[in-house]
Symmetry: D2
Subunit: 403 residues, 4 copies
């Protein structure tokens, strides 16, 4: 990949560090005598490519396929590391308030999209592991004793940082997921439960969606009025129809629709759904999301709309990853229950659930879409600010990178 750097071009632009700095760098990064960085040192391949120790070999019965098993899991962990790195950087942009400078939206969007692309790869990665049959796995699984993918710290961190809710988790063999994480790692894990999740941060950002202000455009009230006006018009049309089975059906449907939309504007019901875990975003954030949906083509909402779409992509791919995991476990060990009670297979199946879909509200908003002519018209004022991005702090408004 770095052939480009053989070009003199790079050399020239290098900001040469002072001698002291470069010595440190040389020790850490691995340079040759001429200060050139060596590929293998840079990537620390001495660590990466020597980390495959087969338990079966240690115990005197080397089983070929254990190597694949190890490498595949290491590749998963390597990519989990990258995903965590991206999630953390996105959370940092939100936490620091940099997201208020809309110049940072490109970064946020690009990084969530990158996570999506990584998860797509991770789903495909199961096709490699599937070249191992149940019989090959049987030959060495006894040597693993209890080691379990359930113990992947990084995957739990990832879930927590995105916002999988503790009380929505499916317990495994009646024990909490944290019981499967060892030592210091438990602390690391507990820490993440205290940090703001991506869900929480996106929620706060959605709550600030311009146009929601009650003393301004007041999107929510306008929408409510338009929807019920619209339904009334529908009702009158239906009433004028001659009596028929069709008419009755339509009227029944109208009643359902009215109920359905009434629920949308009922904050108490919303809070009730949140308490049951069926909704995850605050009432205000939900409004912001719907507003972005409806006005997605306004210049200022285009990138936010892409972000909401990418968040759903990410959620969807995590759930597909879980499902592919279930499939390969079924293949490797069948569906028999263990002594402890539920089998690994059945436990994993139960996690392929909307309870683990963090941004489930973004999906379910699809049930509240309305015809375009019901969407409140923008007035000139709001229209203008939807063409203008916000730059919260003049110090950011330069071409410096604020990474």
């Amino acid at each position: 990949m770095t052939e480009g750097c053989l070009l003199s071009y790079c050399r020239l632009f290098k900001n040469k560090p002072s001698i002291e700095e470069s010595q440190d760098a040389s020790q850490a990064g691995g340079e040759d005598s001429k200060g050139r960085i060596i590929y293998g040192d840079y990537l620390q391949l001495d660590k990466i490519t020597t980390a495959q120790v087969l338990q079966s070999e240690l115990q005197g019965n080397k089983i070929h396929d254990e190597h694949l098993f190890i490498v595949t899991h290491q590749a998963y962990e390597l990519w989990f590391k990258q995903i965590l790195f991206e999630i953390d950087s996105v959370r940092e942009i939100f936490i620091s308030g940099h997201v208020r400078d809309e110049r940072n939206m490109l970064k946020v969007n690009t990084r969530i999209h990158r996570i999506v692309m990584i998860f797509r790869l991770l789903v495909d990665q199961f096709t490699v592991l599937e070249t191992m049959t149940a019989l090959d796995f049987f030959d060495f699984r006894k040597y693993l004793v209890n080691a379990s993918g359930f113990e992947s710290l990084q995957f739990r961190l990832l879930e927590n940082k995105i916002g999988v809710q503790d009380n929505l988790r499916v317990p495994y063999n009646r024990r909490h997921y944290k019981d499967y994480i060892k030592g210091d790692d438990t602390e690391t894990l507990l820490d993440t439960e205290q940090e703001p999740t991506l869900l929480k941060l996106v929620e706060e950002w959605l709550e600030r969606t311009p146009g929601l202000e009650v003393d301004g455009f007041n999107f929510w009230e306008r929408l409510e009025i338009n929807i019920f006006d619209g339904l009334n018009v529908e009702e009158k049309k239906i009433e004028k129809m001659p009596e028929s089975e069709e008419k009755e059906k339509l009227m029944a449907e109208l009643v359902k629709q009215r109920e359905h939309f009434t629920s949308l504007f009922d904050e108490k019901r919303h809070d009730h759904l949140v308490s049951k875990g069926e909704r995850r975003l605050s009432y205000k954030a939900l409004q912001g999301a719907l507003m972005i949906y409806f006005y997605r083509e306004e210049p200022r909402f285009q990138v936010p709309f892409q972000l909401l779409t990418s968040l759903m992509d990410m959620d969807n791919l995590m759930t597909k990853w879980r499902y592919n995991h279930v499939c390969i476990v079924h293949r490797m060990i069948g569906s028999k229950a263990g002594t402890g009670g539920s089998s690994g297979y059945h436990y994993l199946r139960s996690t392929v659930s909307d309870r683990y879909k963090v941004f489930v509200d973004l999906f379910n908003l699809a049930t509240f879409l309305v015809p375009r002519h019901w969407v409140p018209k923008l007035n000139p004022t709001v229209h203008t600010f939807l063409y203008m991005a916000e730059c919260c702090d003049s110090s950011y408004c330069s071409s410096e990178d604020s990474d």
Copy 2:
């Protein structure tokens, strides 16, 4: 993945090592106080997930995307390790003569197929790296100075072990590829040039294809007779046609065909093509491959035929990997030439060539296919042995694994 091992089932079948053994294992493999292996220790995650040191950060200007750059390359190297492991095991089966026991063909086939699946993943993996733009790359490439993917030892080993021929390699900036590999690694690399390549081993195996024996079925002579008989029949048909442009065309084509097939049965011409690098297999091996092609449905040839197909898949995917690499380099650094002469981009492009296709002969045999009724009929003797596999050594003929 290993949830299955939480089941008691595994525990029971474990051949418990003696106390001394288990102590060693415990140190190397990482067990907790109860002898359970810990997931993170088993996978040596302390090495894998701490090997990401950003040069840009060391030099005081942390660039976010360098992390992706490192992780992607590490993932490539991890999978190269796995591919080398599979290639070595397949070569070992061939070298040890185990391949003569046809029970081992399943293993050979499965492992080459696994390499195919890994390469498919590696091609897709570029989609992740493509989330980095040329501008993101520019921000940190100066810190890499000269480190170059060209220096990947494992990729060179892989090429050598499969059978990329030294004299067919494209020199980079007029220097040999070995000049880019440092220190001890050069020796490792030179060693592989002495070892039998996969190409060589497959060649020897093809030369032993049953049915080639001159004093037996004598496939090659029969095929030659049939083909020229067939062409003569065609010629007579054409001669009977009334004079016409069409007739002339067909006759001209027939002449071409006769020349083409004459070349197939001309051993000297074959050797000449080999010397030019246009063919890679011996004359006898080529015959074996064509025999397997024509009689692929015979029980004994079904798995060998799959193997030849998988070898082509592997070759094809390596070349697609190279091409995808070219594309991303074009994207990251453009196509400008460096001071040294040729640019990285143009060099890489030149390696997307049939010179790097090790099993190119298997592709080109497609030009020597003939109608089914020209293929020599099997006589009862040869037919029988194509229904019977060979077991060279009775000691293998048990259900023990000879991994």
Copy 3:
């Protein structure tokens, strides 16, 4: 793709049809005045590329994304056609008894593998449809009224031909799936319920696995003896351990294991599980499958083993296709229930179930694996015939294709 056919080569080998034949062919296949077949006519592109009529456009409100919706579904149906073609050809080989000539196993295997590759593509195809958002879909879904993917005849045929069992289907809105198929198609569908399914045909083939003969090798009895001998040896080892919690645990596990394996050899219990739909294969077929598993490296079992693996791949991918379908429906319409009762989303979710996994027994056999030294040793007689394929009919034993 067919550039090769511009080569004279093809022309020469063409068996020219008589004038009458060629006239028919010309009408049906589309040739130009010189008898050349025209690409667009050959592929009937006049049908394929003119079949996109947008309902929204017909009704005066053309919505751009409806075109994608139509093309995606047409591409699905095109590939379903191909899958049905392959399934039918494989069933034909089994029904006609050609499968007894083991030369035909390559075909069977290749075609099931092809279905696997197609399903892999179909799973990926959802990524294209995902470029349409719920809001884009909302704009035209009203014009589709009731048209539903549920009405895809080809998908139902596919399920039936593979062997999805009628009584295991999840009813949709309390109505049977056949109620959603219209007119003549119902008959076509009912017909497939009478034809032998792929499951049934594979079952019959497995029942004939050489080595199962009670008066021959008698695999099943030998296996039973070995397993219980093995468990007894384990028991004695455990008994010798000093009393401890560990000992108790292991003993409890042993009891479980004994129960588990006892169930394997209990034909009545098997039949009970079959009646509940938890097992699908006959008792004898299950034995055949396990025998192929254990002796998969024997030359004669290598291709059959690959076939069993491919059947699982196919099942897995169908289930992944269903799951991806669920995900996109969630995205497009949310999870709200309709008037009729259950929502489309929840119905579809319920079909992502082992009830729809036709070859579920092949997965669950993974719970009955045993250490290699428990597997009955082959005696010389059985060993010989596992090295020899069967050719049932000498008339097949020529190099003619019996497609």
Copy 4:
């Protein structure tokens, strides 16, 4: 997919057409007696699933794999239809000037991204065709006579509409590509050569990039000044170094750099490169593209930057599609040349070239990147308008869709 529409919800919102309209619609769209649209009629499955006529079968020798060959090509053509539909809609937005209302950028971007996703699928689709071996293909390729993928009208249209330049095309067998397209289709093809290509339209749009105005921000002049100032600073640094080999090298590199950047600001040289086909965009458009690159994080440039990235993705994937095509042709027919001269294989290989990369300039701009502190600082005026999108026409500034 359309299960959602079984919900009453859709019914309600349907704008019922008048009786006359609905009769037409019913005929065209296929409704049942209750006005419900039937799935199979809607998708015109009677056309789609009956369009597979095997030439081999017509000529009395049905070859199984011809069915796959036909279906695969039909699937390609189906997707080409979709891509053309998207390209045409994007071109329409540009041609009509709607793109000046930046609300339409989301659409443009989404549709180009959709083409990218389709091409990704089309590249993967070769894995299905690869399940056919050269030997299977040989059995029926004689029946295809001359039909050639080279004759795909839609693919040529696609190339022309995107902007593959006529004079950069590689002639096939010394004949122009149009000679391979028959009858009326030639006209259709010639028409596209007169229409504005996507390249041309993007070029015009880039030329309007805000900030290029000579009497305004004057990006280009500022950039030129900054770059040469920067190089001068570098030069002084180098001059201060003690004499050494390193110093000489750096100085030589600096000279190269200065030449390289001098060429960037030399309009005549640019026009010369354009005349040779090495550059494709106008000088002004190139400036716009580079400006978007450097200020990509400015709110108003975020979506334009994504668009440039997607255009490169599209180009890259078309070229990968070509390369995958080459690989399968190599596999199916080998690399032998035909009577006509060059072989299909070699011709196709030659089209995997930068000559066919329409947006090649966007890639090559990577050679003109500079350190961030060389990029001209935005002044308050220009900064403001990069936070404000343009809405050219108040009539568009409503929430109506202008599809």
